[in-house]
């Protein structure tokens, strides 16, 4: 299990690096899918099969599919490739990269030696009980936020020339 965790984590890191560095948006998205699948496996090895399944169903199965659709519809061509190449020039990313490195070192120092995670399977029932028990307020607030987003999307997508 521990071995599987490290393999999945390494795949996730490698795939994420590829997402950032690919010039073609479709290729980047496909690497993003791989990265999400690897994270799902990481969650599974940590004993959270429910979270792993949701990660695959929601992120890899629904949200990134939407991304792929949009990218394919926009039909990004050579101009977008050239733009990506400009953005990936060393002088563009070296500054933010150095600053992020400082933050990473700080994070590692703060985290320090953490106790190893105990892999004990968390069942779907346990997740449900926690969501609708202890975290009910958070769930409700999130659902209200999503509803507002839904209404907003409906409003934006409405035809303005209605009835004419």
């Amino acid at each position: 299990m521990e071995f599987a965790f490290y393999v999945a984590a390494a795949v996730a890191l490698a795939a994420t690096v590829m997402v950032v560095t690919r010039l073609d948006a479709v290729h980047a998205l496909l690497y993003l899918v791989v990265s999400l699948l690897a994270i799902a496996l990481v969650l599974y090895t940590l004993g959270a099969p429910f979270a792993a399944a949701l990660e695959v169903i929601l992120y890899a199965g629904a949200i990134v599919v939407l991304f792929v659709f949009v990218v394919m519809m926009l039909n990004l061509g050579r101009v977008a490739l050239a733009q990506e190449r400009r953005w990936l020039a060393p002088r563009t990313w070296i500054g933010p990269g150095l600053l992020a490195l400082v933050l990473l070192v700080e994070l590692l120092a703060v985290l320090g030696p953490t106790p190893p995670v105990q892999p004990g399977a968390i069942s779907a029932q346990a997740v449900g009980a926690a969501l609708f028990g202890r975290y009910l307020l958070g769930v409700e607030i999130a659902s209200m936020l999503l509803l507002a987003g839904l209404v907003g999307a409906c409003h934006l997508g409405r035809r303005t020339t209605e009835g004419t």
Binding site: V26, L30, V33, A40, P49, F50, A52, A53, L54, V56, I57, A60, G61, A62, V65, V68, F69, M72, A121, S123, A124
Partner: protein, 343 residues
């Protein structure tokens, strides 16, 4: 059988040592079981295409394929050989790697999902607790193969299954089947009235219609509708790549039928609690029910005219989703009353 398994496990330990023997044995055993499941599945897919042509032929008062082998029985093999030797054309503008990868991405989820399908009591490759979630996660990956598919029927199918979860209180597919063995009618020997299809009849219909749409079958096969759009693999793919797409589609049909059988039609359970019927192995009943649902797929194709794209959208969003949500609340309330049939 158990002795044979134990002997083989012993050989593995003898060859690879006590530390590496057991993992190697598990690996080999799983590999063999995967082959035992997938190879017959390929055969089923091949003969499903023949059954489709024959059944639709008879429904349209034709004979169907009858030239290759007795009564056309070797037709699928001839088709496979033909596709294998056809030229593989890759469009000049396509990314070669992705072009060849896409058909595999459709086929793989359709096969991988079979790992958790129970063929009988205790007869399952991986008896995972979150079996249903696994199936949904794996099949949701199939969209990447045919990215043109997916009209959000995923959500209706998922919703319809939530009702099944509610009444069986488990995500494990074997537990869901076993849950259908109990109930008021089952106590009187009429098992088939205790299966989920009757109390959840609207959900069964929603699930099955969504499944037909999900697998891009008539009357929802907009990907093949000449009048609206000629898109996707029917145009650009040829030879073996087309065959793999085709295989994936038919394997998906068998998969959703198997899921419907497990969720709503009692899986491997016999319809009536009689000694004669109980003596027949559960696998037979499972195959019989899957076969019936597959026949329905073909029946639909021969019966209904194709839906227009906006009609499919309306059906999914304005009929199925509201219906499912209402029924979900209704079932949840029903379970709290004394008339709860799922105790």
């Amino acid at each position: 059988m158990n002795e044979l398994v134990a002997t083989l496990a012993g050989y593995s330990s003898a060859w690879f040592g006590p530390q590496w023997g057991p993992p190697v044995w598990v690996f080999v055993k799983t590999l063999v079981l995967i082959l035992v499941i997938t190879l017959p599945l390929f055969g089923c897919v091949a003969y499903l295409t023949l059954a489709e042509r024959k059944i639709i032929g008879y429904m349209q008062v034709r004979i169907g394929p009858n030239r290759v082998g007795p009564a056309g029985l070797l037709q699928p093999i001839a088709d496979a050989v033909k596709l294998m030797f056809k030229e593989l054309i890759i469009p000049a503008g396509a990314n070669k790697f992705l072009f060849v990868l896409a058909p595999m991405l459709t086929l793989m989820p359709a096969l991988a999902a079979w790992a958790v399908i129970p063929f009988g009591p205790e007869v399952v490759l991986a008896d995972v607790d979150a079996g249903l979630l696994y199936v949904m996660a794996i099949t949701s990956m199939g969209v990447y193969g045919v990215i043109i598919a997916g009209w959000a029927s995923n959500s209706t199918m998922g919703f319809a299954l939530v009702c099944v979860l509610l009444v069986s209180q488990s995500l494990n597919l074997s537990d869901i089947v076993n849950g259908q063995a109990r109930g008021r009618f089952a106590a009187e020997g009429l098992n088939f009235l205790s299966w989920n299809w009757l109390p959840l009849l609207p959900m069964f219909l929603v699930y099955f219609i969504s499944a037909v749409a999900e697998t891009n079958r008539a009357p929802f096969d907009v990907a093949e509708g000449e009048s609206e759009i000629v898109a996707g693999f029917h145009v650009e793919y040829s030879g073996m790549t087309f065959a793999v797409f085709f295989l994936g589609e038919y394997a998906n049909m068998i998969l959703v039928s198997a899921l419907a059988t497990i969720m709503f039609l009692g899986g491997w359970l016999p319809p009536i609690d009689a000694p004669l019927l109980n003596a027949i192995p559960g696998f037979f009943w499972l195959v019989l029910k899957i076969g019936f649902l597959l026949f329905c797929f073909l029946w639909f194709r021969a019966t209904f005219p194709r839906y227009r794209y906006d009609q499919i959208m309306r059906l999914g969003w304005k009929v199925f989703i509201p219906l499912t949500i209402v029924w979900l609340v209704l079932v949840a309330a029903w379970m709290q009353t004394p008339w709860n049939p799922w105790q």
